[in-house]
Symmetry: D4
Subunit: 217 residues, 8 copies
């Protein structure tokens, strides 16, 4: 494990435990990391762990992890999740955004925070969003996930008093391929108070929400 130094101090320093971004990592690297953290009873969150990578792990390691295929995340030694009160709500525009939305949800859970996920409230059917808006208004931070043209970010930010963390998702084609249109929509929202993270970065949105909440505990 020459290439790997676990940053056990990170949680103390920044309030959030280190996570492993698995994209591009080899089967051996991944196995080393899992083995290490389990051996030391360290919490472990793995993101962008494809099903192929997951299946490349020895069964013995798989059994110690909780893998979620939708979000491509795996966890070990997750703390107990505090159910009440919930401060963060995750909202997404369509079922295609669920993978990113779940990455945010799993990251929050891994840090002890339960958060509801309200799916399929895209603005093409505005009444779906309006049906849920009172519920959404109860939360202190909103994480919104949307691809295509990302109109959800502006509509939401105009309707709630909480800050909106926009996660553009790589859902779309043509000019919205790879999430570019949703990203520019988030950044240039006509409703002030929208904060943006990189395309598909559900993890980053969750970490920012956690860092914010930790400031006010």
């Amino acid at each position: 494990m020459a290439n790997f130094v676990w940053d056990a101090e990170r949680q103390k320093r920044t309030g959030v435990a280190e996570a492993v971004f698995c994209s591009g990592k080899s089967a051996q690297d991944l196995a080393d990391i899992v083995t290490h953290n389990i051996a030391h009873s360290l919490p472990l969150l793995m993101t962008r762990l494809t099903q192929a990578q997951w299946q490349s792990l020895p069964i013995s390691l798989q059994q110690q992890l909780s893998y979620d295929q939708v979000s491509q995340t795996a966890c070990a030694n997750t703390p107990n999740i505090t159910q009440e009160p919930q401060h963060v709500c995750i909202v997404c525009a369509g079922t295609s955004d669920l993978s990113v939305a779940r990455e945010a949800q799993r990251t929050l859970e891994f840090n002890g925070l339960a958060a509801p996920l309200i799916a399929d409230v895209g603005v093409a059917g505005l009444w779906r969003l309006m049906d849920r808006i009172e519920e959404i208004r109860r939360y202190k931070i909103i994480i919104a996930v949307a691809g295509m043209e990302g109109a959800l970010f502006s509509v939401l930010a105009g309707l709630v008093s909480a800050p909106v963390i926009a996660v553009p998702s790589a859902v779309g084609y043509g000019v919205s391929e790879n999430g570019q249109a949703a990203l520019t929509s988030a950044l240039s929202s006509c409703a002030p108070g929208v904060l943006t993270v990189n395309i598909n970065n559900g993890f980053g949105a969750a970490v920012a929400a956690i860092k914010t909440l930790r400031q006010f505990e």
Copy 2:
């Protein structure tokens, strides 16, 4: 006037009279065109006629034109405008979009069609739009003008049964400078039935509306 041949047959062939796109044209070219059309009692619509270009025209020609500074258009020999029934409605997100919205309105008027302009119904304050939505739903074609992130296009298209012609406007800065974010929003709208024209092209949106209406007269 060696460089200029008036296409008097265009109206017959395509249903819309030729207009003069004045951007980059010299004072002499512009004066030649005005003189020619007035001498022949031909209708004349000039677009993108900056105030400087307008002022470069001889006073005698100015007096024969109706100039609108907001939309940078000038007309001569405009037909009578048919007030009833109105089929096209122009909607814009903010006061900064008025220049483009007025270009569409003036083009419709030049072709004999009155059309109301509903301004300042951007989605950051959704209730403003909702207050007017029943009125907007009465029209057969909606021309929508928006800059910034252009969320208005999707919200509108989800609320009305008429086709929406989206005109991205070059209102914004940073990633939405020059209308790029609004353009990609229009093209990748999650609400089907949005049709798009080039950035700031209020004239083109109006012409498409006119061509459509003429098919069903």
Copy 3:
């Protein structure tokens, strides 16, 4: 089917039945949707349904759907198609554009409208287009599909009085890869009255045509 709420009211509200954009959806999600709509005798249009996704559906469901491989669409409970009079004509530049053109045609049919498809009239051989132009001029709305440099959009719009809905197709390579050159051609056409949808969006073009026709019934 927790992630899926059928918008049965959409047809009433916007004049067009909801369709399912299948790109990126899992086999299970797709099977759920088909089962649901067939059970409730609801019309169903599935777009971007790859052959692999189609084959992943249970045979029993496949038998209830009409699948078209060229356009990657599947339908169920399609209404009877009204053959006369036809108001929309689909024109495409080359055989490579057929997939997109057929998506438009299938969407029109799913909404009860027959529409002819005139293929292989690209401008490199202008006489091919001129041979068909009188036929094309009979229609009230033209849907034009073209990749490469998309010159067809401007040539057509200069020859007909109907509005032209341009669908740039992702046919090309180098600078026209992914349809970018055709898209910018459509948006900046020197012939006014061209309306544009996203690259490959045959579905969106058809929906806009349907919405327009419904306004004048």
Copy 4:
């Protein structure tokens, strides 16, 4: 003032008073807005008010506004600023970023919040930042402004437990002209917890900070 409807309810609904983005507005529009708000004793924040626009206002109106040339902002009827406790800190990389940083500071002040501005702590001289890091760590939200390559965002986010709101500034040339390099740095920071707003959008960063603080009062 036909084009202008003051949204007096916005503060109640979203927790932040409406501001006027003056870019592109005419002298008459600006004068109308100022006159209206002063007549009704409404708070008024004007952003992107160039010195030329400022000077175009009647002296009688200028006397009722506090204008700040660095940030191009003007205020009227600003509430008393609460000095203690301070929760937001603004950090910027160089003196060229001061205009944007001051826009954030003025927006916070206009909403009653004092916030210190720590300038000239760019990472090219890391010790300057390290000299101030303990002070910065005392705040609950950090607004960081940087142009060029925007390395400050990642370095800061790795050193503090507060969330970092990154404001890329249009400071640079060549590949970093217009703030693009700083923007992509903010979005792709290797340190999680960085939240981004549009280039030069000091106002938006401040509004997001205010919205966040209001949730936890």
Copy 5:
């Protein structure tokens, strides 16, 4: 004249005399060049010589040059132009393209070749082009200048057997601003045999035509 070495051998080596690209050159540099070439009776072609630069030259030098304001070119010691037979024809889409088309024409003349310029045959009015097509077909090389979407290149190349040298012009706005749409159209033409030069490069198109003709003399 330390910074300037005249390449008198270029004409022998490449068949085309050196020209001076004046963009960004100072008044002193320009005066030095003119003085030098006139003193040595060398042919001189200056391109992109703005009116301001032209006026900055001493009257005594101006009198030795033939300046053309449309094309922003100045010549001295131009050889006699061979009127017959003419092998190159310049075609342009609209009057806005005349500046670039004239640059090509002046460059041909400077190298002794007369070439007709056929203006205003854009494809939005296809019959204008068809009226002239037999005339155009008489030439061995066609230089075509077009901005906006540049559809002219493909239409022409499908109608003539001569090679078409496409010069995209920076005429347009929105997505065709700066000539980008016309450039991608030229490069991805569905009609093979289109050759492209840089945006606005009428000079380069003419030089390529001259080089070609010289090969077959």
Copy 6:
């Protein structure tokens, strides 16, 4: 073969026989085309015919075609190649460019023109090019193929009096991935007389050369 109309008149009209761009065509479409042309003894050039597509053709058809794997071209009924005199020379920068260079060579041969191919004369080893420059100077048209930064185009154009048709190839990575850097180099060459075609478009370069030669026969 409903989707396919052979343009047998093209050779007469433009001087070059029609070719089939096979990219994206189905096995059935390709078989139909081959069967048709062989049945009618028509010349046939197929470009971008991948090895997989080639192998999908029935053996009986394969036997009637000459397939070249490097250039991914197949021919039938090719005319006799005229060996003398040769007027076109193909030059490429490295072995990675051979595929594109061979496409040009095969297209020339299919139209009866032999043309030598000089490979591996990239400018990183300038002496390799200088060793061959006298030979290259003998030709009337040079087709140059280069990827990476495409410096070959400018160096060549400065050394020969023939026009240079630049074919940027998609050889490179990072900023030169997909041929973009070579394309911009070709278009902005400091040596006038460079003409450019789309990335990898060896076919188009050859057609332009043939069209030119045909003018002067």
Copy 7:
């Protein structure tokens, strides 16, 4: 081996032996090159040699090469590596950058220079870098490899007096996909003295370091 001429003189002329960039080369081409160099006892460095390409080589050739899977390089006839004194140090931000960093290291070794590789010192955990900074300061040239936002380049350049050769790596997603964000960071670093090579170009960085060192031997 018609397409291949070994540039045995390159080492003498530029101080660095020629290397073979294997991307896109066929199995036969690669085997020819290896056979040739081994037969002539020439040094051989192959870069971007994928595992599939490696396995396509005959076992007999494989046995004469030293293959490194991480960096995708193979060497033969490598000179003895000089261990002392070491002048170049390779630093990388994360384990995902190891492939590129190792390509640089292998290239240095192939030219006789040992160089340490310090991995996992990204700026998100600044203390990791600070722990090693004294060691890094001992070297005369620093090669730094980083993806994502590339903040490492600026931080390093502000801390050391040696020149920093930045190698942006294609590690990231969304706006940093393909290394674009890291590249613009390197080029626009606020710390002067950063020199940049193409994305993933570990080889080029090493060659530049070797060329520099050779000047001062």
Copy 8:
């Protein structure tokens, strides 16, 4: 001078004295900086100091500075320049590149290093470069400045054994406007050993050269 802290320690730490990038700085800021450094007898290099900014300085300060209009640099307290031996050579492609080349030269001089500037050796006239190549080969580091397509970088790097620091200049138009084509050429040079800095960054190239030389003193 609240916004300004002179980094007097920078020279010790990184080997190069701090310089002032004047772009966007106010007249007052500039006067403060000059006054401060002259009062403390500190060396001062100001870059991107436009003539307008220069003229805005009080005459008394101007008299203490040496201003160079071509490079837009001003110096005070410059050390004596060491004439021998010279290790760095600056090469540029055309007279339009002189501004950037001089910025590099002035920066070297300000750090005590004389460096010759060889202008007008662009590759369109390769013999000009070959005439000087033996002279250029005598230097240990080459700084090359080129705009347009930047072919000079590759040609030079293939001819010399010294490392080449490429400075793309914003000389060009169309696709090479703003230096983009030259930048991508530098980064993707087929000749290894090219190192690149930002567009127009003559200062950065010089600093990198100085840092390198200091390592080997």
